[in-house]
């Protein structure tokens, strides 16, 4: 039993280490990337190419005065950022990030490069935990004793639950073609080629579902163009107005963590997870596993860059446009995707 726990512990430590180091890297990517897009230099004073900028940012956030305004309800105020980070970390345990071909560690089978293996309701587990992310926003808004924060909280919660529906319905097409809710089986179903030349990733037969899912993930993670809840020009800072230093750092971190989980979900569900596009080498042993983890990491990194790219390119949606898009456009499109996939499966094309 201790060997099993040790294996799970190693996987968990690896995942946590990767996720928590991704946050400072993303801070740097965001600032230099935005500078690149806006045709200016980014931070370039601290370290070569400004690479130590996130370190300085962390120091700044840690040493800022930790204000707590009068009238906030302390318990809820402190609980909100904790929930934000805990939810984003808990979602990732059901995401497979590498190919396991019967490897062993400490004498125990590794049982898949996924912290919670053989979860036969994998996709549902992820959506159930992700739907709890609304609470952090709502509690932050409510407990802050501040009208702007409350409005930001209500808007963020309404946006989150609207796009959650579109997200879940868009995934049904993937579930239909893979025949299982288990994420490892969904990734395994995306090996090989389709129609002879395209890789059998779910994005090619289900383009509509993929686009709907990606837009919904943007909305769920409160990234532009859907970041009205934290828009500076509209609501001061939205639901995290009254948070300073560590509280703000926690929300900031949780946004990047949610982005990471969103990007890895897009990769696993629609872009073949750790499958290489056309090359068909058997990924055996530890070398194959490392190669598959590297492929997964590359795809996730590309999607994280895509998130940053879209943020600095598109303007923000107004709140009523956002809600109209979510209910009147996304959900019908996702339902249409189900119809499309159903017809395709029945006729034998997918």
């Amino acid at each position: 039993m201790w060997a099993e726990l040790a294996v799970v512990g190693v996987k968990l430590a690896f995942v946590l280490a990767v996720m928590l180091t991704t946050v400072p890297i993303m801070v740097w990517v965001e600032r230099r990337g935005s500078a690149l897009i806006q045709d200016r230099l980014g931070p370039n004073r601290v370290g070569p190419f400004g690479l130590l900028q996130p370190v300085i940012d962390v120091v700044k956030l840690l040493t800022k005065e930790n204000l707590r305004p009068e009238g906030v309800k302390t318990f809820l105020y402190l609980l909100a950022p904790v929930i934000a980070i805990a939810i984003s970390l808990s979602t990732f345990i059901a995401v497979p990030f590498g190919k396991d071909s019967g490897l062993e560690l400490f004498g125990q089978p590794v049982d898949g490069f996924i912290v919670a293996p053989n979860l036969n309701i994998g996709v549902l587990y992820i959506f159930s935990i992700a739907s709890l992310a609304v609470y952090s926003v709502v509690l932050a808004g409510w407990s802050s004793n501040n009208k702007f924060a409350l409005f930001g909280g209500i808007r963020a919660a309404a946006q989150a639950i609207s796009y959650e529906l579109a997200m879940t319905v868009a995934v049904v097409g993937v579930l239909m073609s893979a025949g299982s809710l288990n994420l490892q089986q969904i990734v395994d179903a995306q090996t090989g080629t389709w129609l002879g030349s395209l890789p059998r990733w779910n994005v090619f037969p289900q383009l509509l579902g993929a686009v709907t899912f990606m837009v919904a993930v943007f909305a769920e993670t409160n990234r532009l163009p859907f970041d009205l809840p934290e828009a500076e020009a509209e609501l001061v800072a939205g639901y995290h107005t009254e948070y300073s230093s560590m509280g703000f750092a926690a929300f900031y971190m949780s946004e990047y963590l949610h982005m990471f989980v969103g990007a890895s979900l897009i990769t696993v569900l629609f872009f073949g997870g750790w499958n290489l596009p056309w090359i068909d080498i058997p990924l055996n042993g530890w070398a194959g596993a490392l190669l598959s983890i590297a492929v997964f990491a590359t795809k996730v990194a590309l999607f994280m860059w895509f998130f940053v790219w879209v943020r600095w390119t598109l303007p923000r949606f107004r709140y009523d446009q956002l809600m109209a898009l979510g209910w009147k456009v996304m959900i019908p499109l996702a339902t249409l995707n189900i119809l499309w996939v159903g017809v395709g499966l029945a006729l034998g094309y997918f």
Binding site: K73, L76, L79, L119, N120, I121, L124, Y125, F127, S128, I129, S131, L132, V134, Y135, V138, L139, G141, W142, S143, L150, G153, I154, A157, A158, I161, E164, L181
Partner: protein, 167 residues
Amino acid sequence: MVTYVFLAAAALAVIFAVLTVVPRDPMINVLSLVVLFFSMAAIFAILGMDFLAAIQVIVYSGAILVLFLFVIMLLNIREVEAFGSGRRWQALVGTLVAAGIGAMILVIAGLLLPEQGSVLPGVADIGTAVPIGKALVSTHLFAFEFITLLLVASIVGAVYLGKGEDR
């Protein structure tokens, strides 16, 4: 080992049920109910019903309670009253009735034969999505469609009630 997890989940459920009922702050009540639903989902998972555990969290914690939170925020509901204030007779009768019902169920449960039960999932994968999905569209199709109608009716009703009557 599983027994301990069950006992922990059950203890958590009872504690947070009491925290849902007794404190005056409606936010505390809703958040305790979230934890209660989580422990119920854990119990469903222990009994081998994975799909239901996920559905319980998605629908109850993730949707219904968010609705409650919205209403609390929109109506700005603060604490209303103390537990049982102004209702002394009802407090006594109510507690007796509740204790009575609880005791009755416990006695009946004690009289039941404890010998049956399944082992954890793996023996019969009856709790996963596939058998439930198949049953929903074959044996229970009428009820499934009827629930769809019920949900649509409730959405229409809620929207109409929420809009106000001067439209």
